[in-house]
């Protein structure tokens, strides 16, 4: 039993050392995907049909295929394209972490753009019209009226997507990245103790996701203007008689 606990302890220590890799992939692709999704959302409401077509094709392509296939396409498929293999881009495309980040950015931007698009449609039209009536144009309207509503509406779904992304980072292990799942598989190759190692890895993912979801819920609550900033003090059941 003591030996068992020592083993789990050492495995956990090894897995924890891989957490930065997982978080790096999550952070890079999370930020890039959000920026890209903002652009895609803008394209989806553009007046000319071309950007709208690009946005729709992007969404169709990346939401309709499995992420693991996209990762393999970028890592193994693009390596066979002559101008990538022999160009300056090769330095980036030979790196599995870069390829994972690129695939996740493209894939998740499609999902996040759909969330933003839905939220944009849910921003009350009256607010936008009122902003226009007050003489706001373009960027100011976006910053003062649309964005605050949009962020509040989109945040719950956006948090879900971030949790999904955390889970997706484990796919990096399929192209030799030593993230939490990758290290877990490596440890198993030496120790043949699958159950304990995978359970420890699962616990780490749960911990990361629980932390993220707590942070995002706190943010959601902070941004919620409808909620009273400080709860009203409860009325005491009996008032002391005035004398």
């Amino acid at each position: 039993m003591g030996e068992h606990l020592t083993f789990i302890g050492s495995v956990t220590a090894q897995l924890v050392r891989a957490v930065p890799v997982t978080l790096l992939i999550l952070a890079v692709s999370g930020v890039c995907a959000t920026v890209l999704a903002t652009g895609l959302t803008a394209m989806s409401v553009a007046r000319s049909p071309l950007p709208r077509l690009v946005q729709r094709t992007w969404t169709f392509l990346f939401r309709g295929t499995p992420l693991i296939l996209q990762i393999f396409m970028i890592y193994y498929g693009f390596a066979m394209v002559p101008w990538i293999r022999h160009g300056i881009l090769w330095a980036a495309f030979r790196d599995p972490v870069f390829c994972t980040c690129l695939a996740m950015t493209c894939c998740c931007s499609a999902y996040i753009a759909e969330i933003f698009r839905g939220a944009l449609a849910a921003v009350p039209r009256g607010e936008i019209e009122a902003g226009r009536a007050c003489g706001m144009t373009g960027f100011m309207l976006l910053r003062r009226v649309i964005a605050p509503s949009l962020i509040r509406i989109a945040l719950p779904s956006y948090s879900n997507e971030i949790i999904m992304m955390t889970k997706s980072t484990s796919l990096a292990s399929t192209i030799t990245v030593l993230d939490i799942t990758g290290v877990a598989q490596q440890v198993i190759a030496h120790s043949y103790r699958t159950l304990e190692v995978f359970c420890a890895a699962a616990a780490l993912y749960l911990l990361i996701n629980a932390t993220l979801s707590t942070l995002l819920t706190a943010l959601e609550r902070r941004l919620d203007v409808d909620r009273a900033p400080t709860p009203l003090a409860p009325i005491p059941p009996t008032l002391e008689p005035l004398s």
Binding site: I68, F72, K167, T194, L195, F198, Y205
Partner: protein, 236 residues
């Protein structure tokens, strides 16, 4: 170019038959996991809504874990972890040691277990959308629980949850690609093998992407019409 056509065709060196077989296997494993997910999801939703407190809590914990752990890890855990557990059990009890479990079964069960966690949330939401008065009316009419489920809950929930189930199906279809790690020759695995043995990864991953797009588009169209059909009385 002619080479590409030859290795993609139906000829002796062509991969088309295997890729199409892979498509069918992908559909089959997704359908199996969807079915497992629906049955287990309904049970979980029931446990969350009407179960005793310990069961309610257990269903909640199940949802938190299965929605917080990567699908890939669930598949790896079941495919490689379960046999080692069974092996150590069989050593203890002196049973015969089993080999690796069948990938199709493990694949559909593991994707199904994850799917169930999501479907439970959907069913819970669907039941929540039914006005409370209807349950009270059913009880007043002397309906039993089962009859209430069959006559009141099921027809209405099915209609409400259909679009959300369509989403889960799409996720199942894409998660089924992860079963490739167990060696089950579904579409992802087949394209991987083809890419490796012909050294044309770009071509074969591209073809696999196109085939997945066909599968997702066809099924989303099917769900769209299914939704229209189930709402046919609701238009006036």
């Amino acid at each position: 170019m002619m080479d590409d056509l030859a290795i993609l065709g139906f000829g002796p060196d062509g991969w088309a038959p295997l890729l199409l077989k892979g498509c069918l296997l992908t559909l089959a494993v997704s359908a199996a996991s969807m079915a497992i997910g629906t049955v287990l999801g309904i049970l979980l939703a029931w446990a969350r809504l009407k179960g005793p407190r310990w069961l309610r809590r257990a269903a909640l914990v199940y949802g938190v874990i299965l929605r917080g752990v990567p699908e890939l890890l669930v598949i790896l855990l079941l495919y490689f972890g379960l046999p080692s557990l069974i092996l150590s059990l069989s050593e203890t009890f002196g049973w015969e040691a089993p080999g690796l479990p069948p990938p199709f079964l493990i694949g559909s069960v593991s994707v199904g277990l994850v799917s169930a966690a999501y479907q439970a949330e959907i069913f819970r939401g669907g039941v929540g959308a039914i006005p409370r008065g209807q349950f009270e009316a059913a009880r007043a009419m002397g309906f039993s629980d089962l009859m209430c489920f069959h006559r009141i809950v099921l027809p209405q929930v099915a209609r409400v949850v259909l679009p959300a189930l369509g989403n889960v199906w799409q996720f199942n279809l894409k998660d089924s690609a992860l079963i490739a790690v167990t060696g089950l020759s579904e579409l992802m695995r087949t394209s991987l093998v083809a890419a490796g043995s012909t050294r044309h990864p770009f071509l074969f991953f591209g073809v696999a992407m196109a085939l997945y797009l066909v599968l997702t588009t066809l099924s989303s169209t099917a769900f769209h019409y299914g939704g229209r059909y189930s709402n046919r009385w609701d238009r006036g």
